[in-house]
């Protein structure tokens, strides 16, 4: 249970090897978290990621979950939730894709879009329903600034995240009605393995920065979070900047 001071006892990370996801887990766990569930495809990587948590006394369980295998979502989530209540679920799923390949190969592009959009939506929605059944909980969903303002360099990824983003905006409202807190996070350019070698955009940040922003924003009761916060107004500005000028801006 989350206590009166907002401290959870259990955290579930979907996308169990996500650097941003793991940073969020590290930031949110306090003296009361004793159970962490990592769910993802790469079992050996998750086992490695689990170690530091285990060393600091947390119980970590690892659940096999492939977001593209939507038929397997329910089974995976059942095993996550059968071990006890989940106070905070973090949805750190999605792939960046390789834009240059995706631009030439429609199948590849559709896969990028599907994973980030419908597959992610399905897993998020099923997780949400589990929390509804439980009668309490918070779900944090990682979207992207690209969902709000797709750019030439990432519009295929952005298209997928836009689907997820729109869905989660609605889920926030539904969550209000059924007592589940939904938090939508739109990070800018985050330095991770996923973005390694890419040209950095202005306001680049590290996973830990995103995690800190999320923690602060939760404390303030916000449900839509830009990270860093400055890119919020910027995203709005970008919407009204004429396209020819936009093209000339750095990423």
């Amino acid at each position: 249970m989350i206590d009166a001071l907002g401290q959870p006892q259990s955290v579930f990370l979907a996308g169990g090897t996500s650097e941003i996801g793991l940073a969020i887990v590290r930031e949110l766990i306090g003296p009361r978290v004793d159970r962490i569930v990592l769910a993802g495809r790469n079992l050996s990587q998750m086992a490695q990621d689990a170690e530091p948590f285990q060393v600091s006394g947390h119980t970590v369980s690892i659940v096999e979950l492939d977001v593209e295998d939507t038929a397997g979502h329910e089974g995976a989530l059942d095993s996550v939730f059968s071990q006890g209540d989940i106070d905070i679920a973090i949805m750190a799923i999605g792939v960046l894709g390789i834009q240059s390949d995706d631009e030439r190969d429609v199948d590849s592009a559709m896969r990028t879009i599907r994973v980030n959009s419908t597959d992610s939506i399905e897993l998020t929605f099923r997780t949400f329903q589990q929390l509804v059944q439980q009668g309490h909980g918070t779900v944090i969903v990682l979207s992207s600034i690209a969902a709000v303002r797709p750019r030439r360099a990432n519009f295929i990824y952005g298209a997928g995240k836009a689907g997820l983003d729109a869905f989660v905006q609605g889920l926030i409202e539904l969550g209000n009605e059924v007592g589940i807190k939904v938090i939508l996070v739109r990070p800018g350019f985050v330095r991770t393995k996923m973005t390694e070698g890419m040209a950095e955009a202005p306001f680049s940040l590290d996973p830990i920065d995103v995690a800190k922003d999320i923690k602060n924003a939760i404390g303030k009761g916000k449900s839509i979070i830009y990270s860093p916060a400055q890119i919020g107004p910027l995203a709005t500005a970008l919407k009204v900047i004429p396209r020819p000028i936009l093209r000339k801006l750095p990423r």
Partner: protein
């Protein structure tokens, strides 16, 4: 997962919190008008279990059951019988202390124990084994219950008393709803000569003086409590005001009151604004209030006649005052430490004032002997209770530290107020918990009765 739709659109689903308005959760809230409803609900309880709820005056998550069923007991609230010779009243568990006082004080009978508010049910009072200003002479409410009718997890109703099935009786007293649903109780009322209190007031300039005077006054009076101004520091740390008293004899009343000594009218209430900005109770307003209040209190006043309500339930004069803390809510921290660990009280006040955890007033009292209930809160020693807004920076850390200090000193935190303590400390604070677990296991082997607090603490 088609069964999911149920929890989305059901009229009976309610978001519940405790009095501190923190940690909301959703449950099926079922009004209980008769025993049959309660029995049906308990028999039909699903995987997330079921729990009784009274007037929701516990501060944290003890009267919530996320995803499960919650029985609203306040609709089961009748007086079933009263013996005007013995003063034993049989009531349904959802009756409030307010209703009991309103009905019986005019007949010269008072509840054996009253908390700082009249808005609690008898069921909730027994489940928390509440204490009042008379703990040093009367003990907690469990000491005044002749029997209860408890609805068990198997759907059967059994009568429990200190003589019959006493393990189960005492596991239910202070059991925070986790042993079953109290349907009815036989309560011993106390004979009183009037509806007025003869009050003694003394001001003390620091904590030592406050404790000393309190010990002295409680030898003389059945009701005694001290209020501490938590914002005063240094040599004034722990300054406060003690009030003590007893029900006034007719001879002590002024003639207008002596003519009708048992007249009781609940004080009219004024309402607090429904959604206050969270800054309303800031450190400065609290400091100003406390200063004014301390100066206003007499250094020493004897034999002042106060109404029962003014003496016992000053906060009931402001309806919905908990909303003053704004959206984020507040917690109440109450602990007790054994007599020889009185310095923990000082440490607590110091540490909390260091992080500016503004509290209007803290309440300090010395408990008398505890009772047989393994999970009952009171034990001989000092108890301190104070309200703190949740937004105070560093609060969690400071309270965790205090919890440890308290546990090490052999003390404990009050579960009816708790909303945040660490589960690891529960067995240290309640050393008889194993005994209680054992009885609970026999009464409810599948843990049908569950609460959010139990999920948080009993792990």
């Amino acid at each position: 997962m088609s069964e999911v739709s149920g929890l989305h659109r059901d009229d009976r689903l309610a978001t519940l919190t405790g009095w501190g308005r923190t940690s909301p959760s959703r449950a099926y809230l079922v009004p209980v008008h008769d025993e049959a409803t309660a029995v049906d609900e308990v028999r039909g309880a699903g995987a997330r279990g079921i729990l009784a709820r009274g007037l929701g005056r516990s501060y944290g998550d003890s009267a919530q059951n996320a995803g499960g069923a919650v029985l609203d007991m306040t609709t089961l609230n009748q007086v079933l019988s009263f013996d005007s010779v013995s003063g034993i009243v049989t009531v349904e568990a959802g009756i409030s202390i307010d209703a009991l006082i309103t009905l019986f004080l005019p007949q010269g009978w008072f509840v054996p124990v009253t908390p700082g508010t009249r808005s609690v049910t008898i069921g909730g009072a027994i489940a928390a084994d509440i204490h009042g200003k008379n703990h040093h002479v009367a003990g907690s409410i469990g000491n005044h219950i002749h029997s209860i009718d408890l609805l068990f997890a198997d759907g059967q109703v059994r009568t429990l008393s200190p003589d019959q099935s006493s393990d189960q009786f005492w596991a239910t007293v202070g059991g925070m709803g986790l042993t079953g649903v109290i349907l009815r109780a036989r309560v011993q009322l106390t004979k009183v000569p009037s509806a007025f209190i003869n009050v003694q007031t003394q001001r003390a300039n620091n904590l030592d003086e406050l404790m000393e005077r309190q010990i002295d006054l409680e030898h003389k009076y059945p009701y005694c409590v001290a209020w501490i101004d938590c914002l005063s520091k240094g040599s004034k740390l722990g300054r406060g005001v003690i009030t003590a008293g007893s029900f006034a004899d007719i001879s002590q009343l002024p003639s207008n009151k002596a003519a009708r000594p048992l007249d009781y009218e609940p004080a009219t209430t004024i309402s607090a604004p429904t959604m206050a900005p969270s800054g309303l109770l800031n450190r400065w307003s609290v400091a100003a209030f406390n200063e004014a209040w301390f100066r206003k209190s007499p250094k020493h006043r004897q034999d002042e006649i106060q109404s029962m309500a003014t003496f016992f339930h000053p906060l009931d004069g402001v309806a919905g005052w908990n909303a003053l803390y704004g959206r984020a809510g507040f917690i109440q921290y109450q602990f007790v430490v054994p007599e020889d660990a009185a310095e923990v009280v000082r440490t607590a006040i110091e540490r909390l004032s260091n992080i500016q955890a503004a509290s209007f007033l803290a309440v300090l009292k010395r408990f008398g002997a505890g009772n047989l209930a393994p999970m009952s809160f009171p034990m001989p020693g000092w108890t301190l209770a104070l309200d703190i807004p949740t937004g105070v920076v560093g609060l969690s850390h400071v309270l965790d530290g205090l919890d440890e200090l308290i546990a090490q000193a052999g003390g404990r935190v009050y579960l009816a107020k708790d909303s945040r303590m660490r589960s690891e400390l529960l067995p240290m604070m309640y050393p008889r918990i194993e005994e209680w677990n054992h009885t609970r296991e026999l009464m409810d082997p599948n843990q049908h009765f569950r609460s959010d607090q139990a999920r948080r603490l009993h792990r």
